[in-house]
Symmetry: C2
Subunit: 751 residues, 2 copies
């Protein structure tokens, strides 16, 4: 690893206070001092009383897409932004948003039971009784359906669960599956069930993962009560998010729309989410094999797999309406580089009242906007343009951000320098994930923010946790945490509004939020409201303030930098880990197949079979070829060489002061820096999902939110598509070389 001088000086040689007076990356010494001054002023602004008031207002009534209060909230936000003197407007889109017309779930054999499908109001919780405005419990973008079939329990309903079922000799063909929430993003469950021939899918919250097993249930405690239901989208977002009718283009009034039956991101089978009170009689009626140990939840019954004798009737019918979205966008024009945009976003729509998801984050963004407005009045002039975006329609499918970004794709490709996202926020640790070009940058911000509980910096607290968590593991990981100047940040999968920016447009992105100290079970239920949040989460809003300080400072520091503070050493270091991972994955897959074939030949499966619980032995598979990883290694080498050249160039710039560069040279260098993340994308996208263009990060086709890094290579290996894997290794290797060339070009501009 290469070290830039600032870090060198900081490594244990100086107290944090000293470090914070060292020039910021991308800043000259003078501009750095000035910036620190403005940032300190900014950090003093966010006020917990305001955050509380915003939440009380925004979460006062249900505000899902298409609801009256969704629009009302957008207009109220707009009014606040304008009141503070910001240039703001609402951009509107028209999207497919189905809502339930009919929902029924019954056990018809061997006994009768009709599911309640309702979340009851709770006396102490005033907003829980707003039944007229609440969306019923359902999964958005399920197709219509009316099916009656034997039931099969499929655990989390992920691909490996179906391998287990196959070993047990159980097929879901023609069956309705019941899967528990967890183990994957919910949309994966009906997708995989459908691929295996199921005709319907019920998803329930098992109390082992989300209920009394975790602690007291609402309102006595924060966890999911027996009738609580997790709503949520089941759109096939790993193929493309956003309006199912307008893939790749903005859902403007006059956009060309697909007919409904050509929208491939709708589910193939009907889906309905239920509470554990509704699931229990269904699961209790199952017989057949006892579910494997790992499959059993915390209901007081013996979990069986089925199929049957439980037979179930599932009916769902939807209003397939087009509904308006209201994105609220404030723009602060940049003085030096108005065509370089720093974009900050958080959604404002919710499934119901949504105090935690998303209002805890929306409120922080609103308070950041107030802070930005206040600084502007004090004379602060950001070099780059800042966009503060309050997205609508995130919950059903990242609609507001996706449609906006698709509409403005050309400008964004030219102008977007970075995107910073947040969503729900809570008490605890800073979660920071995103583009590794921003790893060093966001570590620097985290070193400035005070943790409200420990008064240490949030960075220090994160590092302590990383050390503590590694303690149970190996000493090498602990050593990595201690020795490395920065904490590693996670890669982005999907699940919030950064998706279109990083995955579709190749804009360096970050996702920020606090959490980890409070758990709860109100996600996407009517109980995610002001009462719950102020009893069981960041009740005094100090972590809301910390989020506003963190994200606000990040936006300012990016907007004000003379040179965009991207760093390519962390990128190289991280990509090297990914390359090692996929190489090991391929080797492991191969070893597993060789070993399994040997065991089949040796009669191991026959010898370990239990005649009372017969299992189907796996079939022999062709031994995979060795893959040629050289193109990836070459790509990585090119990336590393370029990162080293850039680091040396930056060292020279730092020694001379960034402002020593002529204005035009700086502008040129910034423009070239903005091209680097884009160089990590390919226009043709990932195999079978061209909307996803980034070659380093993507949500997994079979994990949904969970990230797959080097996705084209990793997923083709996971899916045993060896020929495709060999091809993708070449493509991704070339992509890394392109990124190296883009970095070289930026380094050249610094000469």
């Amino acid at each position: 690893m290469r070290l830039i001088p600032v870090s060198l000086l900081c490594l244990g040689l100086c107290a944090p206070a000293w470090c914070q007076t060292a020039p910021l990356r991308g800043y000259s010494a003078d501009s750095s001092l000035l910036e620190r001054d403005w940032e300190a002023k900014f950090r003093a602004i966010p006020d917990t009383a305001n955050l509380r008031a915003y939440m009380q207002r925004l979460a006062a009534r249900p505000h899902h897409v298409g609801s009256a209060y969704d629009q009302d909230n957008a207009e109220w936000i707009l009014a606040r932004l304008k009141e503070w003197g910001l240039d703001a407007k609402i951009e509107s889109f028209d999207v497919l948003f189905p809502t339930p017309k009919e929902r029924a779930l019954e056990l018809v054999e061997p006994s009768k039971f009709t599911a309640r499908l309702e979340e009851p109001a709770v006396a102490v919780d005033p907003t829980s009784s707003q039944r007229d405005e609440q969306l019923p419990t359902y999964n958005a973008y399920s197709i219509d359906g009316d099916v009656t079939a034997p039931l099969v329990y499929v655990n989390y309903g992920v691909p490996e669960d179906y391998e287990t079922l196959e070993r047990l000799g159980v097929s879901v063909k023609g069956a309705i599956v019941i899967a528990r929430y967890g183990g994957s993003w919910r949309g994966i469950k009906p997708k995989v069930a459908g691929e295996h021939g199921a005709v319907g899918c019920i998803i329930y919250s098992d109390p082992a993962d989300d209920g009394y097993h975790e602690g007291e249930t609402f309102p006595a405690g924060p966890f999911r009560p027996k009738d609580g239901v997790q709503r949520g989208s089941v759109m096939d977002m790993p193929v493309y998010p956003g309006d199912p009718l307008t893939p790749g283009i903005g859902a403007t009034k006059d956009a060309k729309r697909l007919p409904l039956n050509e929208a491939v991101t709708l589910t193939k089978i009907p889906v309905l989410p239920v509470s554990y009170a509704d699931a229990q009689p269904l699961l209790a009626a199952l017989q057949g094999r006892v579910a494997p140990e790992r499959w059993r939840g915390a209901l007081p019954l013996a979990y069986h797999v089925g199929p049957g004798p439980a037979k179930v009737h599932l009916k769902v019918k939807f209003n397939w309406d087009i509904k308006p979205l209201y994105d609220v966008i404030a723009r602060v024009p940049g003085e030096a580089y108005p065509d370089q945009w720093i974009i900050r976003g958080n959604h404002h729509d919710a499934w119901v009242n949504g105090a935690e998801d998303p209002v805890s984050g929306t409120s922080a963004l609103l308070e950041e906007a107030r802070g930005v407005a206040a600084l502007l009045k004090q004379g602060w002039k950001p070099k780059r343009t800042i966009l503060l975006c309050f997205w609508d329609g995130e919950e059903p499918g990242l609609l507001g951000s996706t449609e906006w970004a698709e509409t403005h794709a050309a400008e964004l490709t030219r102008s977007a320098a970075a995107y910073i996202n947040s969503d729900g926020n809570g008490r605890g640790y800073l979660n920071m994930s995103g583009s590794h070009t921003l790893e060093k940058f966001i570590n620097g911000v985290a070193r400035d923010i005070e943790d409200p509980e420990t008064k240490a910096t949030v960075w220090k607290r994160l590092q302590a946790r990383a050390i503590a968590n590694a303690s149970s593991g190996d000493a090498a990981e602990r050593q990595d945490v201690r020795a490395r100047s920065d904490l590693r940040i996670g890669a982005l999968g999907s699940g919030s509004d950064y998706t279109v920016f990083i995955d579709h447009l190749g804009v360096p992105s970050l996702n920020l939020g606090y959490g980890g100290e409070d758990e709860g079970g109100i996600y996407h239920s009517i109980y995610d409201d002001f009462y719950w949040y102020t009893h069981f989460s960041d009740a005094d809003f100090v972590y809301g303030r910390a989020l506003a300080q963190t994200a606000g400072e990040a936006v300012m520091r990016l907007a004000d930098a003379e040179l965009l503070p991207f760093d390519f050493d962390a990128l190289t270091d991280t990509v090297r880990r990914y390359v090692n991972e996929v190489r090991k994955l391929a080797a492991d897959k191969r070893d597993q197949i060789v070993e399994r074939n040997r065991q089949i030949d040796d009669g191991v499966f026959a010898a370990t079979g239990d005649p009372r619980r017969p299992s189907i032995a796996p079939k022999k598979e062709a031994v995979p070829p060795y893959l040629n990883f050289a193109p990836l290694d070459n790509g990585l080498a090119a990336l590393q060489r370029a990162a080293e050249v850039y680091a040396q160039a930056m060292t020279r710039v730092s020694e001379n002061g960034a402002s020593a560069l002529a204005g035009a040279a700086r502008r040129d260098a910034n423009t070239r820096l903005m091209a680097v993340e884009h160089a990590l994308t390919l226009q043709e996208g990932l195999p079978n999902r061209e909307w996803f263009k980034h070659q380093i990060y993507a949500p997994g086709l079979y994990t949904g939110y969970g990230v797959k890094t080097l996705p084209a290579v990793r997923e083709s290996i996971e899916q045993k598509q060896w020929q495709l894997a060999d091809q993708e290794i070449v493509r991704v290797g070339k992509t890394l070389e392109s990124a190296g060339a883009a970095i070289d070009s930026a380094a050249a501009a610094l000469q």
Copy 2:
């Protein structure tokens, strides 16, 4: 590893059929052929119909120590042995055996609940209604007590659970603890609770470990029903088993007995076991911190730690009576070496009807006795004396075997060549554990027994399982299983009647039994009976037959060998692994303390604390010294050299035929071989528990049944007694050298 010629020839060079005609270890070619002939005759004898009839008879009524049917069973067994022509008798002892006079458990705050403490009869199960003869549910050797105190949930109640409680700031001083069964032998729970200041201990069966979470409950399925209770001993057996009043000596009529208040193996606090139906209201009434994830069971509630507000009244009072034991012993005198005994045992007493525990094993032993008697009539003449022992009083504390062996200690030390134990038996795989001097021997037996389900040998099936289980782990382990000529056998801890033989007297011992394909939840309850066993376990008794074949053949092969077939390569190989383990344990302990101290210094605990869930940071500890492992290494080297010398001597004997040795030389060699396992003991025993004399194996002081190998060294490291560890390393190293000398002496006798 050294290979003896027979194994060499077998390693993949020959089909099993060929191998089975190769001379048995310790046999000449001729005597081996003759032996195989007798063994084949023997294996044809055990009859499943007899096993079924024995079980029906022996489990027909409750037959705990002191019950009428316990004596009746002993006399019935004796009558059968005599009827078959064997020389048999009953040996009787008088032991302390408390039974309940009063039992009460109530929740007194914050609400009232009185525990039922009863297992209801089940209509379909005829013996479950024999209430008058059933022992109530209780833990034997709990002291009397009458306490009322706040309740604390302590998970499994093992030492590390109390470390967790300490971190949570929860003390059990003055409290009644409720622990779930599992994680250790039950007697450890009140012992550790008492050491931490608790005044009472409730033990319950959580449905996560023993109930509906595993499958359907009795009588619909095999698992523990809500009112089922696990009885059992809580005597402090890791200090000494057997009659608490006569440590180290036989509890004969006129034995010198300790006064009750000097019996250190009674518990220090009152204990009572309960069902999960009785535990649920108690656990539901607990508040305080939510129990850590790993602590939560499968009851439909939020597990809290307490203390309180639940307050509990616990009262137990016992009849502290002396009761008779009836050991039934059959003796078949040896022709060549009458003073060399092969001892085979299984207990006959139960907690209630005990079909599985122990009658499934008792029946096999009885059928073996019938087989032995039949062979004798056909002219078979074992070279060594065979003792077939039906122990009484195993359940309360290994009473019958311990008192018998203590009574006959002097003869046994001179004459016992090996002890082979069994206990409950079921469907599935052969479990073989014991002295590693017998590892190669018992592998040879397992290669001869046909698995009733797969028709492969039980050895082959075991190997297949070892490969399959290793598959999820590392390839090195799989390679070890595949490449090694023998399967590794486990070491013996405690929990059955082998304890006095191996741990106290240093007699090479084995424990055998089938199982692993059926689980159940009737252990030590009234439902462990003929109905349960014939519905949910080895219903057609084919694995009962397999056990009779396995153990019977092992007894014959040991009894008939010209030279005792002990092998010291496996011993050396295994001790080397143990030495490596304790060395690593010491290094890990040191690293952990260094790391934890560093984290305390670095403020990691402070930085990761959650003010809403405060935890107590651990205190800094003195860094342990490096231990000197050289004495262990030297001992191991001596053992290895001797094993090599012995192996060479055996090779020469095998080449010349064992019978080439003169009769006196053989006798001499056998006598010296019998001294080897004894050389692994020390008369002064283990630190603070002199009854336990073996230096390689012992039940753990804080695991109860679970084995600790190299116990003096391992436990002193675990307990951070570094000075003691250094001393024990020297003592154990010398013990290994003594064993090496004993092996050398045996090798010399073969010249």
